[in-house]
């Protein structure tokens, strides 16, 4: 039940894009088409799960015992950058179909702040290993849900008559506001 709570809190109630405002550059950047947002979601789910596991182990096995907590920013960002490169090599060789589905979004993910944010938050919330894995799954599924829904809306919007000053990004922000309002409705679900 506790793990279920962590998952749903991360998935809907504190949705990383619409409520927490993390990783918005990618939210507006790649959501113009459904395929690109699916590729980005796959890459985020894959990288976030692995990198939060690795950064949890590094923090609790290396940084905390030696009282080097102040190095966490530098350590995490370098770990994630190196990990993305390794994962890219591995996928290219072992699972080429998945590699092609992710396309250029895999390298771009190094600068996706959601990955780094989840590594920090799992430590700030004092989660143990299993809890932090469930948390990162919840966050990445929430990311996928929000970005894919948003891409569907934006594809429809390309055909709609929009006032001239609002075309492009301004209307995208207003749409995101309405979606965020809908997600705000999940507050209090399951007593969380």
């Amino acid at each position: 039940m506790e793990l279920f709570g962590i998952f749903f809190a991360a998935f809907l109630i504190n949705n990383i894009l619409l409520i927490r405002f993390i990783a918005l550059c990618s939210f507006f950047g790649v959501s113009t088409k459904i395929d690109t947002s699916v590729g980005m979601s796959l890459a985020v789910i894959f990288v976030m799960t692995i990198s939060s596991a690795v950064s949890w182990v590094i923090f609790h096995a290396i940084l905390a015992p030696f009282h080097l907590e102040f190095l966490r920013t530098a350590t995490f960002i370098l770990t994630i950058a190196a990990l993305v490169q390794l994962e890219e090599l591995y996928l290219k060789k072992m699972i080429p179909t998945l590699y092609r589905a992710m396309g250029i979004y895999l390298p771009l993910i190094t600068t996706n702040c959601a990955i780094l944010a989840v590594a920090f938050l799992a430590i700030d919330y004092r989660y143990d290993f299993v809890q932090s894995m469930v948390y990162s799954l919840g966050v990445s599924f929430g990311y996928s849900l929000a970005i894919i829904l948003f891409a569907y809306v934006r594809e429809r919007m390309a055909l709609a008559p929009i006032p001239k000053w609002f075309q492009g990004y301004p209307i995208a922000f207003i749409t995101a506001a309405l979606m965020s309002l809908a997600f705000l409705g999940f507050t209090g679900l399951f007593g969380l």
């Binding site: 550059c25 507006f28 920013t73 920090f120």
Partner: protein, 196 residues
Amino acid sequence: MSLWQDFNQGIIKENPVLRLMIGLCPTLAVSNNATNALGMSVAVAFVLICSNWVIAALRKFTPDQIRIPIFIIIISTFVTISDYIMQAYYPALYAALGVFVPLIVVNCIILGRAEAFAYKNPVLSSVLDGVGMSLGFAFALVSIGVVRELLGAGSVFGLTVFNPAVAATIMVLPPGAFITIGILMALLNKYENKVQ
């Protein structure tokens, strides 16, 4: 004249938030009141100016192939410094900004200016570029913060303007951030068209 341009271009013409659409996450997340917005702007300004300065000073010794990891180490050093200073002297602000302080390290504005400007230009222009970009970021962030705080809580920088009971609370909640920035961008588009 060109030094003036280095300083000036970040404020409106290449405003990082409203024009280049970078650095959006902190802009939306910490702009629920004007004080937090100002605190975040100061932290970003410190990191941006210092990292531009160091990267420009070291640009002749930095090997081209590994420049990105070097930039990231320099940036994360200054982020850690500002993180610890804020934690020690401004604990209330630090609690309000939360995870967005360490996340300055992946703020696209800082790495973007390092790569696009500081790596290719002398120290003085790079520092001025950092100051200009920081002012542009602060301008966007504080104006969004003032609008949201005024409409959502009836105050500006914590000083009450009208009765908070009649304020639209939605403006300090997450949807208010999206609405404010959307309308601000539309107004900027309209203003631009009129000028042309």
